[in-house]
Subunit: 210 residues, 2 copies
Amino acid sequence: MKKNTRNYKVGQTRLENQKKILEAAEVEFANHGFKGASMSNIADMAELPRANVHYYFKNKQELYLTVLMDIVTLWNDAFNQIKPEDDPKDAIQAYIRAKVMYSKKNPLASKIFANEIIHGAVHFRQYLGTEYREWIRGKHDVIQSWVDQGKMDSIDPFHLIFLIWSSTQYYAEHAIEVSTTLGKKNLTAKDFEAVVDSLSHIIIKGCGIK
Amino acid sequence: MKKNTRNYKVGQTRLENQKKILEAAEVEFANHGFKGASMSNIADMAELPRANVHYYFKNKQELYLTVLMDIVTLWNDAFNQIKPEDDPKDAIQAYIRAKVMYSKKNPLASKIFANEIIHGAVHFRQYLGTEYREWIRGKHDVIQSWVDQGKMDSIDPFHLIFLIWSSTQYYAEHAIEVSTTLGKKNLTAKDFEAVVDSLSHIIIKGCGIK
DNA sequence: GTCTATAGTTAGATAGAC
DNA sequence: GTCTATCTAACTATAGAC
C-alpha cells in the first residue's frame, strides 16, 4: 500500500510537471521558433530547474515534437466533420466558424504550426506526407462531389481549402497586425463574429453556393 | 586621380560585399527567424569571414532591420496603384495577380515578413503603427468608396484586405504544404495562374462585383 | 579595408549528490 | 524522482595585426 501511494504521487508530479513544461514550451516556441527557443527560458517559465526539463524530455527536439503532435491531435478533433451529404452552405459556414474560433482560442498553436511550415517543415515532413495528405484529400473529395452535384461553381477544391485555411488562420498569426489596424488592443468576441460573417459571405457567394 | 580610382574600387567592394551579405541574410532569416539565425552561417553563405559581416553591419539586429526595410521598400513599390476611380473588378484582379506573382518571385521576403509578424513584430512595431497603418487606411478608403457607390456588397474593407492578403501570401509561406498536396516538387507558372483565377473568381463574385 | 584570434556569453546536455 | 554543479559547443562581438 505504501508503494502504491508513492507511485501515485510520483505519477501526479510527473503529469503536473510535464504539463507545466509543455505550456511554457508552447509560449517559447510560438515566440521564437524551434531554433530560437531556449530550454532555459522554458525551464524558468515552468518554474523548474533546467535539468528537470531534460529529465522529462530527452532533448529540445523531443519536447518540440511533443508540442507539435499535441497541436495536430487537437486539430484533428476539431475539424473532422464535413461529409458529402452535408449542405455546402451550412458545412462551409460551420467550418469557417470553427476555424476562426480556433484561431481565437489557440493562437499559440496556430503560430507554432505556421512557423514550422514557413521554415520548411523540417520536423514535420512526415506528417505532411501522410496524415495531412489524407486529411486534405478527404476534404477535396467532399468539395468535388458538391461541384459534381452542381451545388457550387467549378472551383479547384484544393484552392478553396487553402483560401479558407489561410484567411481564418490569419487572425491568429497576424493578430498584432489586425488589432493595430482596427485600433484595438485585443479583438473582442464581436470582432470575431464579424470575421466569420465577412468570410462566410464572400466565400459562399463567391463559390456560387445558394 | 589615384585617389579617385581607389575610392571607386573601395566603394564597389563595399557594395558588392553588402549585397552578398544581404542575400545570404535573407536566406538565413527566412529559414530560422531572427533569434534562430546565425551570423556564422550568413558569413559562410556570403563567402566572407565572420568579422567582415560585423564590419559592414554593426550587429545582428542592424542586419536584420536592413533586410526588413528592403522588403518593405519593395512592397511599397509593388502594391500602390489602387485608386477610387478604378473599376473594382479590374483593380482587385490586378492586385491579386500582383500579390500572387510577388509570392512566386519573392518567397523569402514573404517568409521573413510573416515570421516577424507571427513572433509579435518586436522589430517592426514602429512600421506597423505608421507606414503600414497609413497604407491600409488608404486602401480601406478606396474600397469603402466602391461600397458607397454601390459597386459592390457592403463588406468591411479591412476584412476584405486581410482576405486578399492572407490567401495570396499563403502560396509563399506554405509553399511546402501546397506542393506536397498537389503532388509536385515546385509550383509551375501555370499553377500560379490557376491560383489567380480561383481567388479572383471567388473574391470578386463573393463581393458582388459585376 | 581585411581578417585572425579570441573574449565573453549563452546554449543544450549530463554526472552525481541528495 | 530532484536539483546543483559543471561540461562542451555554439554563438555574437571585438581587438589588433596586417
